[in-house]
Structures are given as C-alpha cells and as structure tokens.
C-alpha cells in the first residue's frame, strides 16, 4: 500500500477530496432527508458529514482500518437511534461506502486501475465506466435476492412485513419451505419433473453424443443442413414448437392408447419426454461438438495402431476425453427440460404437471409465497449446476492441454 501511495501522489484535500466527499455524502443526506420530508436539510447535514469524513481520512491515512470501523459503527448507531433496527443495516452500509470512498479518493487509489498518463477526464470516465458495469452486474444479480429473502416470510405476502425489515424473529419462518416439502401440491410436480427430465436428458445425451461424433468426422455429406436441422429446436420459439407438438402429439397419443393399449398416464409421460428430449438435443450437440473440436485424432489412430478395436477406442480413449463436454451438454439438456413450461403446458395433461408448470399457475393466480421457497431451492440447484459446469469446463481445457481459464 505504501508503494501505491509513493507512485500516485495524494490529491489535494481542499480542491478535490473534500468537495467531492461533501457532494457524495450530500446525495446520501438528500435521500435520508427525504424520508423525513426534509431533503434540503438532509443534503446540508450530509455534506457536512462528508466533509468531516474526508478530513478524517486525510489526517489519519495510516490507521485506515480503525477509522473505517469506527465510522461504520457510528453510522449504524445513528440509523438505529434515528429510525430503528431496520435502519441499522442501512446505516452500516452508508458508513462503509462513505469511509471507503473517502480513503479511495484521498489515497489516490482511484488512479490505480488506469495508466499513469491518463488525464483527469479519462480517469473520471474510466471510473464512471466501472461504476456503470457494476450497476449492470447489480441488475443481473439483485432481482434474485429479494426472492430468497421473502421466501422466509412468516406471512402469506409477496412483500416485506415491518417485522422482517426490523429483523425480528417472528417475522421469519420456514413455513413456506414446509409447505413446499410437505404438500402433494408441490411434491407431485417435483416428482414429475424428476421423472421427465432425466429420461429426456438420457435420450438427448445418448443420441446427441453419437451424432456429434459423426458430425465431427471430416467427410459428412450435407453437414450444414444436418446441423441446421439438429440445432433448430433451440432456434424455433418455444411457442411454435409447442403449437406444432400440440397438433402432432395429441393424435399420436390417442393412437398409442387405442392401438397398443397403453396406459394413459404412461403415454402422457412418453409424449412429454420425447418433446423435451428434442428440445435438449441442440445443447448436447453444441457442447459435445465444441469439445471434439480440440480432440486430437492421432489418439484414436494410436489406439488402433496398438490393436484396440473401434468400440474399445471409443470407451477407453475418446470417451474419457470428451466426457466433460458430454456431461455439461447433459446438464444443459437437463435444465432445459427441468425449466420448460410452454411445451409441457400444451403437450402434457394434468397428470404430468411439472414444477415450472405449478409455479406458472401459481404466479398467474398469485396463490402463495411457496413459489418463492420453490424459487430459492431452484436457485440453489442452479448454483450447484453452474459450479459443476464450470469445473468440468476447466477440467476439459486442462485435459486438452489448453490454458485453464
């Protein structure tokens, strides 16, 4: 840190840090003041506090940690005293942001990410740009957070109760999770999803892997056209696929029931599984083909040279190398089926109601925050899946000798 301060000169206090901090904190003050219907007073008080923080940071550059801690606690307490326990968190946050900003400006670290020759304007633009990107990341992730928070709501509301905001224990409960795990209304759809998705995945992965291997050979007649057909389920909008499948699968199901004497529920599952398998195919093709691009063909020739037959070569040499691609393709296919609503809505009957279908119905009729519990569980599942895919991708790159990302 001392190295940094040596390289980058500390900016002047009165011409730079102090006014900037005053305006910055004034902005916070304006917002807080607005809560009490006194935005102007809020702005003035905020500006004064900002100036004070800037002075503090400028005069005590060495004890940065203690000063920041003190400021955070102080702001938290102000929030607690002025409004209540809910504002404690807000206060802590404001304290953290203000003290960080003061040190960031005062120590000149705002220049640490730009080349030394940048002008003030360029530095300002660069930091604004980073701020904008931060906002976009916030936009991507933040919407998921209230869902998780609200899923612990003790009331049957989609909104925060005062108890929740004040962090009182009675505002929170696991009741929606109990509803989710304890009622047929949610468990039957979950079971259906867990029946349909694995079978659909199995079909698309096994057929898709074979086809991807075929497509990766050097001489495939009509490769472009075949690829276009195989990728089409991903490109054609779901509503169109669903409409087409609705017209096609309904008579097919009736025919199966009438001519082969199959059970209605069984036929229903078969229809949905086939439809979902078709939707999952493109993902398997894309991921497995991508893995095969880096595949060294001389390995199979070497295996053949040493006397392995094609089947042995496939399972002992090729398969272990493309396995990461196959698994992540399978995960894509799984999530496609597990997450799919439109097609199952049109093709399936009430017996095949899946989890997303149940959520969709719930959202349309707005029944209960149990949906939010389900959503939180699904987010957790997708985090696990994402981790798996990332790990597999890195493993695949390592196996193929590429630099691990």
């Amino acid at each position: 840190m001392s190295n940094l301060t040596v390289d980058i000169p500390s900016p002047p206090l009165t011409g730079f840090t102090l006014p900037l901090m005053a305006v910055f904190a004034g902005g916070f003050g304006f917002v807080v003041g607005n809560v009490f219907a006194q935005p102007l007073i809020g702005f003035l008080v905020g500006a004064l506090i900002g100036a004070g923080v800037a002075l503090l940071a400028h005069n005590m550059p060495r004890s940065r940690r203690n000063v920041r801690l003190g400021l955070i606690v102080a702001f938290g307490l102000i929030g607690l005293v002025l409004v209540g326990p809910g504002a404690l968190v807000a206060g802590l946050l404001i304290g953290a942001v203000l003290s960080w900003a003061a040190y960031w400006l005062d120590s000149g670290r705002y220049r640490s990410t730009v080349p030394i020759y940048y002008t003030a304007g360029q530095t300002l633009w660069h930091n604004t740009f980073l701020f904008i990107c931060g906002l976009v990341f916030f936009f991507l992730i933040a919407p998921l957070l209230p869902v998780m928070w609200l899923s612990f709501n003790a009331e049957n509301f989609f909104t925060f109760t005062p108890e929740m905001l004040n962090f009182e224990a009675e505002g929170y409960s696991l009741k929606h999770y109990r509803d989710f795990l304890g009622t047929d209304e949610w468990m039957v759809p979950l079971k259906n999803s867990l029946i349909i998705a694995p079978f659909a995945t199995l079909i698309s992965v096994s057929l898709g892997t074979l086809a991807a291997i075929g497509l990766s050979q050097s001489h495939v007649p009509g490769r472009q056209a075949i690829m276009a057909v195989l990728i089409s389920p991903m490109i054609v909008p779901l509503i169109i696929s669903a409409t087409g499948m609705f017209f096609f699968y309904a008579p097919l199901g009736n025919w199966l029931e009438a001519n082969l004497g199959l059970n209605q529920a069984f036929v229903g599952y078969v229809k949905v599984i086939l439809a979902h398998a078709a939707l999952g195919v493109p993902f398997v093709i894309i991921t497995v083909t991508a893995t095969l691009v880096g595949f060294d063909k001389s390995l199979t020739r070497a295996a053949a040279n040493m006397g392995a037959d094609p089947v042995t070569t496939f399972f002992r040499v090729q398969m272990p190398l493309i396995l990461p691609g196959v698994i992540s393709g399978g995960l894509f296919a799984f999530i496609t089926s597990f997450d799919e609503v439109v097609v199952v809505l049109f093709v399936g009957s009430a017996q095949q109601q899946t989890l997303p279908w149940q959520m969709f119905t719930g959202l349309r009729e707005q029944i209960s925050p149990t949906i939010l519990a389900a959503a939180t569980i699904l987010v957790t599942v997708s985090i696990c899946l994402l981790t798996t895919v990332e790990l597999l991708r890195r493993r695949s790159e390592r196996l193929r000798g590429m630099s691990p990302g």
């Binding site: 936009f139 991507l140 919407p143 495939v220 490109i235 909008p237 939010l372």
Partner: protein, 576 residues
C-alpha cells in the same frame, strides 16, 4: 560444391527407375494398393465407408429430431391452411352450392337445403355438426348457434314425415320392411361411395362389414331414400354395432322418402315398380298429398331464420374449399369476401397491432440488451482472465437460473406493493397513493425480458471481444487518436459481429417469448405468442393459432438464416 555434385549424382540415380515405373504403369494400368485393387478405387471406397459411418452415427438423432420436432412443425404449417371439415361434413350441400350465385342477393335454392338436411342429419348422428358450426363461427359469429340449434330440430323435421308414413301403412314402422325394400344387388359401388363420405366426415376408416347392400334398382327409383338408408346402415353396423335389419331407420330416411315422392318421375317409377313391398310403396305414393308440403328451406328457416341470410351462405361458400387462405388472412387482419380480400372492420383488427408491438418491443429489448451488455462484455474481455472468470459467474448465474424464478423475482419487485415501489415510497420519492405502475404493461415486459435475455447478449459479445487484440487500441492512441476515435474507428467495427450475433439471438428469443409477457405483461404488454396460446387453449381456433405461428416461424427462420450467415450455427457458444 561436392554436395551439389553428390546431389546431382544422387538425383540422377532414380531417373531411370522412374522411367521404368512409368513404363510399368503403362503396362499394368493405374497405381495399385496393397491388396491389388487400383489405389483410386480403394481410396474412394474408404472415403465412402467413412461417409457412411458418419451418417450412421448421425442417423438415429436425425430421425429422432425429424419425427419429434420437424414433423410437428410441418403439421402446424399444414393445419394453418387445412379446411377439410366443411367439405367433409356437408359434401353434397357444398356441391349444390357451387351453382349458387354468391354475389347475388338471394339465398340458395331448395336443392342446397335438401342436400344440407341429409348431410347435417348424418353429421349430427356422429356429433360433428357442432364442429363445422364452430369452424364457420370463427369467420362469422352466429353460425355456431345456427348449426347447433338446427341440429336439434333435424329429428323433428323427419318425424313429421315419419308420422304420416306410419299412418298410411304401419309397415313403415318396421325395421324389416325398410331392409327388405332397399337391400338388393349391384349396390356395392353406392355403399363404398357412402362409406368413403362417412369416413371423411367421421375421421375414421369406417371399415368392416355393414351387413347391407343397397339395391341398384331402388337407388334409381328412390335415390334420396337409398342414400339415407345406406348411411343409416353404415352407422348402425359400424359405430353402434347393431344389426341393420333389426333397427328402425333414422327420421332422415322418412324425410328422404318424402323428398323422393315430391318428384313426379319418382312417383311414375314407383307406379311401375313391382318388387317386394310395392303395394305399400304405391299406397304411400298415392297419399303423398298428406305429407308435409313445406320445402326444406322453409323448415330450416323456421328452425333458425338466419338460414335465409345471404351473408351466412356467403361465408359457408367462401370457406368450403379444403384448403383455405382464410386463417392467414385473418392473421393479418384481412378477411375474404365475395368481392375479394378486404380489411377487417376496425374493431376486429388486432393481429397487425400485436405483430407490430411484438416487433417493436423485441427491438427495444434487443436495444437495451446491447446498451447494458456491451460495457459488461468489454470489461470482461479486457480484465485479467482470473477476475473475468469470477465476474462471469455473475452473468452465468441468472443464465442458469430457472426462467420462472426470474419471472417471479420481477413480479415481486415490480408489483404496486412490490419491493421497488415500497422502497421508493419509504424514501419519500413516490407518493403512497400514486405508486408507479411497473407491471401488467409494456414497461414490465421490457424490464423483465431485458434482464432475462441479457446473458444471451453478453456471451456472444464477450466471445467476439476476446479475439480483438487490445494492442490495436493502444496503437490507435499512440498514433494520435482520442479515446473516442480509437474506440469508434478501431474497436467498435471489430465488435460488430458480436453485436450482430447477440442481437439476432436476443431478438429471435424475444419475439417468441410467452411466459414472461403472460405474467408481467398484463394486456398491453403481451406478445403475439400469448395470442397463439390463447387460441390453442381458450378459443380453440387452432387453424388461426397455426397461421399466426407459421408467420412467426417464417420471421424467425429468416433471422436464423441471417444468424447463420453472420456467425455460423457451428459457432454458437454456451456459457463462454
């Protein structure tokens, strides 16, 4: 130098051998492979075997996708023009209707109504008349109730004839009388013809033994009666699984006999007839004055006066061909009239607005995805790999999260009692009484879908920007370009393929979106896909749903083709 001479000496060595091998080639034909076949042939064979092996590996999936995906799509395309139901349900009436002048002001004549009566009677036995009514109702409201109501009165119309015949001779009540009168020889062709018509209407093959063959002689004397009785026999034997000779015929058969006896030629033929039951038949012919004298047209109009309406008949006539453009015209707010294609009345125009809204909102969503995605992709592409990978998780997490979860998140956020409104009210920026309406309108759809589709923009942009060397920008700046010039003239043109790929992907995905607009779109924020779903599940106008879907599909395929030209389908990447 010695090397050179050595080389020349060495080179001179093989020359005679080359000569000799060429001589050998001239003697033995082309170069041979190890097994003695010509090398060219062996190579070609190997290549062919390789191709076959590759195709054999692809074939199972290709067949699977063709059957489970492409065929359903084609069946949708077919359904968007298919209109066999009118023709199949009332074939005779449609044939008679050909002679009617649709541009005139008079409703069709008696011939059409007679044919319609027997067609509809048959259809109502099979419960198909309401379907044709529903089909025509899409084109002109009111036709459904016309068909439904008259369908209930068909039996009564026939009973008026039946009562009179049974008064004339009680033999008319007996099943055996009819069977003996009308069965005979050489009527197989008529039976098969009626069977085919029945099969087309009932959409089943109607195969099996009827246990009745109409008499060719009776078919000439009593044409309507024989046809009606044959229809009755087919239905009784094949659908009700009863014995034809033991069942009392439909009311329509009595009506048919009544209709036959209205023609003087038939009466003359009956007088000359001398087969079984000729006396009964002659008695009926003599007392024909007692039969109801109302024409079928009068009976239909008495049942529902709309049967006298020219507009109704024009609709039936316009939508009688087995292939129709009607659904497609309807999808673009046009309608068929006897004078050609016209615009629908203002109040019924909805689809062009919807298509337009779908396109505009998809463009807005694509635009906002570019605006939000470009900086992020730039940042990810220019950060050190390790940091970029951590940040990439923030992009991939929403990508991997269930669509329903993200949609419910936006519902929680955007509602009037939702998180955003609550915060704004608490902060005092929005009055409690005037909460922002962020949901159930176009705003809600645009916000939620931008969030949902943003990863699809960032990922292709990122993969393109990864390939642009950062040194180009530095070079531009060192040559005196300002930041803006360097970006706009050097970096941006190279990132255009990424923008193109991402935009087309986002645009394709958004114009077909259903779930999110349905939940956060209300009425003013819904897309054409919501209308398709409505026609599939609520209004049951499947043909129109298929036509709307086909138009959407064509737009998407065009875009898909562009995408293929810009990036190539092989280069689609998932998850960076």
């Amino acid at each position: 130098m010695s090397n050179v001479t050595d080389a020349t000496a060495g080179a001179s060595g093989p020359i005679p051998r080359d000569d000799s091998s060429e001589a050998a080639k001239a003697e033995n034909g082309p170069v041979l492979a190890a097994d003695g076949r010509p090398l060219k042939q062996t190579l070609r064979r190997t290549l062919r075997r390789e191709k076959m092996r590759a195709l054999a590996l692809i074939a199972p999936l290709l067949i699977f996708v063709l059957v489970t995906f492409i065929v359903p799509i084609l069946s949708m395309l077919f359904r968007s023009v298919e209109n066999q139901i009118v023709q199949n349900t009332m074939p005779a009436a449609i044939q008679e209707l050909q002679a009617w002048d649709a541009q005139g002001t008079a409703p069709p004549g008696e011939d059409v109504f007679v044919a319609l009566y027997f067609d509809l009677f048959k259809a109502s036995e099979a419960k198909r008349h309401t379907q044709v009514g529903n089909r025509l109702n899409y084109e002109q409201p009111g036709l459904s109730s016309m068909f439904r109501g008259t369908g209930r009165d068909l039996d009564d119309m026939g009973e008026e004839f039946q009562d009179v015949f049974e008064e004339i001779d009680p033999a008319f009540e007996e099943a055996g009388f009819w069977y003996e009168l009308l069965s005979g020889e050489n009527g197989e062709a008529l039976l098969e013809e009626r069977r085919e018509l029945f099969a087309a209407m009932n959409r089943s093959d109607m195969a099996g033994d009827v246990g009745f063959v109409p008499s060719a002689q009776m078919a000439e004397i009593l044409p309507w009666t024989t046809k009606a009785y044959t229809d009755f026999a087919i239905w009784t034997a094949l659908e009700d699984n009863d014995v034809v000779a033991e069942e009392e015929p439909w009311e329509a058969v009595y009506a048919a006999l009544g209709q036959d006896l209205r023609s003087p030629e038939t009466v003359a033929a009956v007088e000359a007839y001398s087969g079984p039951w000729s006396t009964t038949l002659k008695a009926a012919a003599e007392s024909r004055g007692q039969l109801p004298q109302d024409s079928f047209r009068e009976m239909f109009v008495a049942s529902d006066e709309d049967w006298d309406g020219v507009e109704e008949w024009r609709t039936i006539s316009l939508y009688s061909p087995p292939i129709t453009t009607g659904y497609f015209l309807n999808s673009v707010d046009l309608t068929k009239t006897v004078d050609g294609i016209e615009a629908r009345p203002e109040t019924q125009q909805i689809y062009l607005t919807l298509f337009q809204r779908t396109l505009i909102m998809s463009l807005i969503i694509t635009g906002s995805c570019i605006l939000l995605g470009y900086p992020v992709a730039w940042l990810l592409a220019n950060l050190p790999l390790r940091t970029a990978n951590v940040l990439m998780i923030l992009v991939l997490l929403p990508f991997w999260t269930s669509l329903l979860v993200r949609t419910s998140a936006w519902k929680v956020l955007l509602q009037q009692q939702g998180v955003i409104n609550e915060i704004l009210v608490w902060l005092g920026f929005v009055d409690d009484a005037n909460r922002l309406i962020l949901m159930n309108n176009a705003t809600g759809t645009v916000i939620a879908m931008t969030h949902i589709l943003l990863p699809f923009m960032i990922l292709p942009l990122y993969s393109v920007m990864k390939t642009i060397p950062p040194s180009y920008l530095r070079a531009a700046k060192s040559l005196g370009a300002t930041n803006w010039t360097a970006f706009w003239r050097v970096y941006f043109p190279q990132s255009v393929p990424g923008i193109g790929a991402g935009s087309i992907l986002v645009f394709i995905l958004s114009i077909g979106y259903y779930i999110t607009p349905e939940i956060v779109g209300g009425t003013s924020g819904v897309f054409i896909s919501n209308r398709i779903a409505y026609h599939i599940s609520s209004s049951l106008n499947w043909g129109l749903a298929a036509a709307l879907g086909s138009i959407l599909l064509i737009v998407v395929l065009l875009l898909y083709w562009c995408y293929d030209r810009i990036v190539g389908i092989d280069n689609v990447k998932l998850g960076g």
